[in-house]
Symmetry: C2
Subunit: 408 residues, 2 copies
């Protein structure tokens, strides 16, 4: 959250994944889905230094494996190609062949090295990619009418209700560096729908090892700290590309302004993560859980996740019920080193538990905070100096409606 | 489940916690709750060998601590006293003093050793015990009109919709041994409601160490394998008492018929656990997840718990949607050694996934099974010889309704 207070970071109004120099993007409809755009791409003028993190689910979709292999070879990506509607997950050997063909055809169309193409799919699990439609789509890639960041940001959506994008700027060595991003979520919605996807771009020159390290660290504090229903999919991926268009002295952990770059990178990731959490199935509110006073970062993260994942907390927030007992209980079963007699809880800025004991508070005031669009729950373990923040959404009738309904 | 097939175990029709010899129980209304019975007890003619397991929540309610201390002293319990409506949790030092007084007054009233009284509370967290009402209740303990197992089984309920009880009989050394039990659940319902409680009685003579060991093992395969919303409360406890009324040669791990006793003990625990799961907030169906082919018991348990805890699986079952992708996904993120290419899934006896790949199946048949009162999901990891079963319930509109509503 500190990053948002950082004066040296400018948030670009209506920024996109193409805000950084040398990136273009587009999207089109190839009829995998009935009417919505379902095929998109991001392209860099030159091969960009790439880093990525992937789902920890034991079931990894074919496109994830292909992309992972390619990035490991040269650590460069120039074109990202994505389809929605079908996840190409649990599709066996045919799934691998289809993902490889999607990669190869894209490389030919865009005139780039095959290993410089990242492929990604999101949608129904267990259904093969409709390759005829994919081939047709690739053929029309880059047609003027299809080129636009908005098209890309729409094309990657599944049951999302809004596109998710942001861009920020910072000054590094007197050069203006831009970091942009686009994402889709959230959770797994319509029967067998998978995937959280996030694509981050920058025109800075960044050393690959440092970029990969930064992505891992920042993902743990952003995309890995959101939950809609706790179910992590087979296709989740976060990919970052740095094309060096600004000709800055290469950024790395040794660069004096590395911390500023990290703050901007974190801000972009955190905002995309929050946009995903807020757009959770049936959600009416964004919930932010701040945990401080933890003995370690891991303990802080686990406690925050226990609270944000509690169905009882999520329903209490939906009902605007200042139900601190459920928060305390979730803290208690987080399996972290907790001293019950030290735990403090506040709903917004209304303190409801101090040193493990309930405080007198005006229920109406707590209820008022719980009716905000963003609900903040603060937990102080008074047991260390580490902190973490998690984001999620309330659990509503619409979540049941969406997820109990049949495949259509 | 094998236990239910055990011919040597007779299930007593409408059995109760008082079915074993030498146990009595009762319940009354002391106005902690508006109209329902809210105070109950179990009493043994003689001090019974006792064993117990307690919540792992870092926040442990006062009565749990008091009971734990008492059992650790002499490993004997003669009277159990329980109130519902107020959990005496997060009540600080006053909570300890109140639980101690509740224990002492009960001991005096029943003429037993103070250390032979187990105290238990379930209800709202963070509210002190109304001691005046508790004192009045203890004064009326054992009044003829209040003595009945049904009264006890009602008095321990909170938002449960039904009482939970069972009793079975086995032959040991030619003696008829009875094991009975009563329980309440489930999850944490009305704002700040806590607790799963289970009380098991037997008229067998059982060596204490063996009894404690058996309770721990069996709890891991029964009460620890149910989930309603995954939230484990501050007051959860399972207590077992063996009063030896049958004068059998003391049962222990070395007794030739120990396995039969374990089977009967497990059957009682499993049935109580299933009754709790089935009575989960808003539940319309009992879900049973069987995992086999796991490399360890722990892996089998974790995979079964991941599936039974998935909101997406729970809503799919509610919607009778044969959504195998969600089951596979939950197996995948269980963080256990899984080979995705070996995983098989069946909905009831309809095989939907084989070796990680979808099978053709008649959706209507799968849907039909999902409309049963008990839904069975079978997962074969084909990666070992260990298995586990977990029980839960579907996630419904009523769950949201119950849990989003205000404290009343």
């Amino acid at each position: 959250m500190v990053a948002t207070k950082e004066e040296n970071i400018q948030i670009i109004k209506n920024g996109h994944v193409t805000s950084p120099q040398g990136f273009s993007a587009g999207g089109l409809h190839c009829a995998i889905r009935k009417t919505r755009l379902d095929f998109g791409w991001i392209h860099s003028d030159n091969p960009a230094t790439a880093a990525a993190v992937y789902t920890l689910n034991a079931f990894q979709a074919a496109p994830l494996k292909i992309t992972k292999d390619s990035i490991e070879k040269e650590k460069l990506i120039q074109t990202v190609v994505v389809n929605s509607g079908v996840a190409n997950s649990c599709t066996g050997e045919q799934g691998n062949l289809d993902a490889l063909e999607m990669q190869k055809l894209t490389a030919e169309k865009m005139g780039v090295d095959t290993n410089h193409v990242a492929v990604s799919s999101t949608g129904v699990i267990g259904v093969p990619l409709p390759m005829e439609k994919i081939r047709t789509a690739i053929h029309s890639m880059n047609d003027k009418d299809n080129v636009s960041a908005e098209n890309f940001e729409e094309a990657i959506l599944t049951t999302d209700t809004m596109t998710k994008h942001i861009a920020v700027q910072i000054e590094i060595d007197g050069k203006t560096i831009t970091i942009g991003g686009a994402a889709k979520g959230s959770g797994m919605i319509h029967p067998n729908m998978a995937t959280m996807l996030s694509f981050i771009t920058t025109d800075a020159a960044v050393e690959q090892k440092s970029l990969q390290q930064a992505l891992g660290d920042i993902t743990n504090k952003s995309f890995n700290m959101i939950t809609v229903d706790g179910d992590c999919s087979t296709n989740d991926m976060v990919l970052v590309m740095a094309n060096g268009k600004q000709n800055n002295t290469q950024l790395s952990e040794t660069h004096p302004q590395w911390p500023l770059f990290l703050q901007a990178f974190q801000l972009v990731s955190e905002e995309l993560a929050k946009q995903i959490a807020k757009d959770g199935e049936g959600a009416t509110k964004l919930i932010e859980v701040n945990v401080k006073g933890a003995p370690s970062d891991e303990a802080a993260r686990q406690v925050a996740k226990a609270v944000i994942s509690s169905n009882l907390v999520k329903t209490a927030v939906y009902g605007a019920d200042p139900n601190w007992g459920r928060i305390v209980c979730a803290v208690g079963y987080s399996e972290q080193p907790i001293d019950p007699d030290k735990v403090c809880v506040a709903i917004g800025d209304i303190h409801v538990v101090k040193d493990g004991l309930p405080l007198e508070f005006v229920e109406a005031e707590a209820k008022q905070h719980l009716e905000n669009e963003t609900v903040v729950l603060n937990v102080d373990l008074q047991n260390g100096l580490h902190e973490a923040t998690a984001w999620g959404c309330d659990l509503t009738y619409d979540y049941i409606k969406i997820n109990a309904s049949y495949r259509t």
